[in-house]
Each structure stands twice: as C-alpha cells, then as structure tokens.
C-alpha cells in the first residue's frame, strides 16, 4: 500500500496480500520490528518488473525523505552546537541520512523509471548544499570554538560534501576508463582472431582454389567463403557508401555464386559519378559473360572526373550481334539501348585475339 512491499512479498511467497499485511502489522506491534523489516525490505529489495503487468515502483521518494531527515537533524545539530551543547548524535545522524540520500539517488534511483534524471540531480545538489552549509555552520558555531569532536565531524561533513560534488565526475571517468579498456581488449582479441584466420583459414581457402581450378564448384565456394571472411575480418576499413566500385564488386560476388565463373574486378580512379543505367548495363554484361562463357571474366572500371569506362571481358565462344535473333533482348536492349538512352555508349566486340567477347561501356559526366 505504501511501497508495494507486502504485495511483492506475497507474490514471492505465494501467500495472499492480506495475510502478509496482517503479519506485518502484528510484527509492527512487537517493538516495531515489523516497521523495521518493512523499511529494510522496501529499501533493499530489487525492483521487479513483470513483463505483462504494471511494474512495481517505489512510490515514495526515499532519497528526498532521507534528505529531509538529514536537513532536520543538521538544523538540530547546529542549534545544539550553537548553545555549546553536545551535538554528536544529531551530527552523525545528519551525515548518515544525507549520505544515504546521495547513495540511494546514485544507485537505486538510477534504475528506477519513476525517477527522472533531474530528480537525482536536485537531490544531489541539495545534499551538497546541506553538507557544506551545515559543516561550515558547525565549524564556526559557538563563537568559532566548537569542541574538538564536533569540529572533526564538521570537517567530515565538508569532505563528504566535496566528495559528493566530484563523485559523478569520478564515476564517469571510471566508467569511461572501463569502457575504453573493455573496447581495447575486444579490439585486441579481434586482431588476434583476424591474424589467426588470415594465417590458417584464408591460406587453406586459397589452396583449395589453387588446386580445384578456376571455375569449378569447389573453387567457387572457397572463393565466396574467402570473400565473406575477408569482409568480416576487415570490416570498417571498407567504405560503406554505395558507390560504383562497391556496386560492381557486389554484383560480381552475387554472379559468382550462381554461375561457374570467376569475375576479377579491377578498379582505377575515384568513382565520382555513378548512374543506375551504367550499373544495370554492367550487370547485364557480367551476367552474360558468366552465363554464356564462364571461366575467367575480367571486369575493369576506370573512372575519371569526366567519364567512366567499364570493360567486361570473357574468354567464351564469342557472340555475333548480327546473328542474334531479334527477340533476344539481352545484349541489344539491356546493354546497348540502355547506355544510349543514358547518354553513353556501349560497344560489343570480339575479345583480343578473337577469343571471347568484350563489352565496353562508356559514360561521359553530365555537364551541370
């Protein structure tokens, strides 16, 4: 009812709430032990958040109450000390209350959804003001001559106040340091794994390709695995932006998975300009090369500020444009037609030495 402790206890023990409350009240009558037990459970029981029902919350602002208690005892302490009396007990209580208020706001309130960040800051600032103010007042109470123990306690208060003031910074520095150290350890581990994989797995994959022949099934699988592993190992160093170079590489990788071909993509120059038509045409050319010729396919991309050239070269049986039936749209439409509509040009011709086919795509930069 007050803090939801009885309800929590009841659900924990599987008893009815009324029964737990009854026991609590009876216990409270026996020298107040029920009250103490209640407070103890209330302050220290971890918050439980059932998935389907309303989360249990500490409805009472504990740290604010502790702070208020600290303030009252501090006033009492100062008043007693001013009259030259024995102020040890209220001073110690004030330190204890305020200290617990800060501790509470730093630890338990932080994870409590009902407490905002502002609330904890206010609690902390007020604690600092209270500790420093009370400490100074005590130190200069009774005409600047408090007795020795009060002076020691007052200095303790000041120190605690300063401690609370710097605590958040120290805590932040500490967590930053820990996070950085953890990050470094992770990075080291990753580098170690990368070095190990580079030395063992990549070598083996290379050997498999070496032994199995360029376009065999096994070599293709090995190559795909090698690429995946490499991407993972050196992730972060590769550019994430989808530019022409990465697009072509991705297309080549996808085609290699489906057809018995090895596409070697070489790129030169900064890929400043890119166009969907060029990419689509290049894709079609690479696909044709892989599908009809297979084996080794060379893809060369040269991009300069003024133009982009893509060469796709295979070593297959070659293609004769004129003898292609009209309804075969592949080359005529999706490569040549597409490029000319985009303001570029495409040339399909036999490869060097009359072996295979070479498709040359050319696109001038648009003058804007």
């Amino acid at each position: 009812m007050v803090g939801g402790v009885c309800a929590g206890l009841a659900s924990h023990l599987g008893w009815s709430v009324g029964r737990v409350r009854f026991i609590m009240v009876v216990a409270a009558l026996v020298m107040g032990s029920g009250v103490l037990l209640y407070l103890w459970l209330w302050a220290l029981t971890p918050l439980q958040e059932p998935a389907d029902s309303e989360p249990v919350r500490r409805t009472v602002p504990t740290s604010a109450l502790l702070l208020a208690a600290g303030g009252i005892t501090a006033v009492i302490a100062v008043a007693i000390s001013e009259t030259g009396g024995n102020a040890y007990l209220p001073t110690v209580l004030a330190i204890a209350f305020t200290g617990s208020a800060v501790g509470f706001s730093l630890t338990l309130d932080r994870t409590d959804a009902a407490r905002t960040g502002r609330y904890t800051i206010v609690v902390r600032v007020l604690s600092i003001v209270l500790l420093l103010g009370a400490g100074l007042l005590l130190l200069f109470s009774h005409g600047g001559r408090p007795d020795a123990i009060t002076a020691v306690l007052a200095i303790g208060m000041l120190v605690l106040g300063l401690g609370v003031m710097v605590a958040p910074f120290v805590v932040r520095l500490w967590t930053d340091l820990m996070a950085e150290r953890a990050g470094r350890v992770r990075e080291e581990q990753r580098a170690e794994i990368a070095a190990h994989l580079h030395d063992s797995v990549l070598q083996t994959l290379a050997l498999i390709q070496n032994r199995a022949g360029a376009s065999s099934e096994v070599a293709r699988l090995a190559r795909a695995q090698e690429r995946e592993l490499r991407d993972w190992l050196f992730a972060g160093s590769a550019p994430t932006a989808a530019d022409l170079v990465t697009e072509l590489r991705d297309i080549a990788a996808a085609i290699e998975l489906e057809y018995p071909a090895r596409l070697d993509v070489v790129t030169v120059g900064e890929s400043g300009l890119s166009s969907p038509a060029l990419i689509a045409a290049a894709r079609e050319a690479m696909l044709n090369a892989a599908r009809h010729a297979g084996g080794d396919v060379s893809v060369y991309l040269e991009s300069s500020a003024s133009s982009v050239d893509v060469f796709v070269r295979d070593r297959g049986p070659g293609v004769d444009l004129d003898s292609l039936p009209i309804d075969r749209l592949g080359v005529r439409e999706s490569i040549i037609g597409r490029m000319s509509r985009a303001g570029g040009a495409a040339i399909v011709r036999p490869g060097a030495g009359g072996v295979g086919t070479e498709v040359h795509l050319h696109l001038e930069a648009l003058s804007e």
């Binding site: 580079h198 290379a206 500020a305």
Partner: protein, 215 residues
C-alpha cells in the same frame, strides 16, 4: 628446367603448391621463415624464389626483408611474391624491395608455373590488380603523363596503354596484338613500369613504404 625455392610458413600450402607446379619446374627446397629463407637463397642459389608476403621470423619485415637481406643475389635469383590477398597494399612493399612480380595464392598451378617461367626469363609478372594499382598510384587516370622516357614518377603514354590492357585482363600476347607491337616490346614496357614502381619517389608509393617501415 627452372629451379625454385618455395618460401611460405604454411606447410600445407607449400606441399600443395609443390604438387601443382608443372614438370618444367624443379623445387630445390622449402623455407618457412625469414632467416631460413635467407640462408637457403644463399646456399641453393635457385633461379626463382616463390615468396610469401607475410612471413614470421627475422625483424618482422616478412617477404620484403628476405629480399633486402638477399640483395647480393638479385642478379641471379629472381623473386616472385605470393600473397593470400590480392590487395596491392600487401604487395607494393615486396615489389619495391626487388620482387619481379606477384600473383595471388588462389592462382592455379598452371598460372603459377607460367609466372615462374616468365620471371625466370627476366620478365615482370603483373596481375590485372597490380596494373590497376599502378595506374592509380601514378595518377595515370587523371591525365598525368611522363614527358621523357626516363622520368620515374609518371608513366609514358605507351606504358599507360599497356597497363590499361593488362588491367582489362589481356595477356602479354593479346596486348601485343592489340597495340600492334611485339611481345618483347610489351615485356620491355612492363619491366620499365616495374622499375618505376621500384625506384619512383612518388608520394603515393613512398607513403606505402614509410608506413611499412621499408625506407
């Protein structure tokens, strides 16, 4: 018969490579780290050393260190770099140290054998990827061109053409046919480019070398 020394720290890869090389190649020996590689180059005097770029031992310099420490034998022994990755970054260091070319470990046995033969014959072996890197590094795409043939920091127009064709996947023979020159001339151009790659003080190249503490 070309005599070969295989330097690689993975015994599986060494034996696999050894088995896949063709009959014209005689494997004299194998080495697994920098120090034993240097020793064997001196004692066996092979025609060609197939050299892994990443090697343990020595001062941690890998394949490039083997070449620099064997520099007195560069006249008679040629180095062909092998790398598991085909990124030029890995390879520029060994090329600049004196290797005559590089191929990826994924290349087939025939490809490796051919590369060994041409390196043994004094030619340079350029993969399409390395040719692409050369074009990039020498600013050939942005239109930089050497005025004199002996200029080290830029490619001549002809060298640029040759590099572009190699990057497009042409063999030396196909390059020769395409440009109406002899294969020998193509080889001369490629060797000239290799020399530039090794000697040039172009910023892009020295940056690699500096990064890898090769200077």
């Amino acid at each position: 018969m070309t005599s070969v020394l295989i330097v690689d720290d993975h015994s599986i890869f060494r034996s696999g490579l050894k088995a896949s090389l063709d009959d014209s190649i005689d494997v004299l020996g194998e080495a697994a780290d920098v120090d034993s590689a240097v020793r064997q180059v001196a004692s066996l005097a092979p025609d060609v050393v197939l050299l892994d770029v990443h090697l343990p031992g020595g001062d941690g310099g890998g394949g490039a260190e083997v070449i620099t420490r064997s520099s007195t034998y560069l006249e008679t022994t040629r180095f062909l770099a092998l790398s598991v990755s085909d990124s030029a970054e890995d390879v520029v260091g060994v090329i600049r140290a004196g290797a005559r070319g590089y191929i990826t470990k994924g290349s087939s046995g025939d490809e490796v054998s051919r590369a060994v033969a041409s390196v043994a014959g004094g030619d340079a072996v350029f993969s399409p990827r390395l040719a692409g890197f050369v074009l990039d590094a020498f600013g050939a795409v942005t239109g930089e061109q050497a005025v004199a043939d002996d200029e080290l920091d830029r490619l001549s127009a002809r060298e640029r053409e040759v590099m572009r064709l190699i990057a497009r996947g042409f063999s030396y023979k196909e390059v020769a046919a395409e440009l109406f020159i002899s294969v020998k001339t193509v080889e001369t151009h490629v060797s000239a480019v290799l020399r530039k790659l090794q000697m040039s003080s172009r910023h892009e190249l020295t940056a690699w070398a500096l990064e890898r503490k090769l200077l």
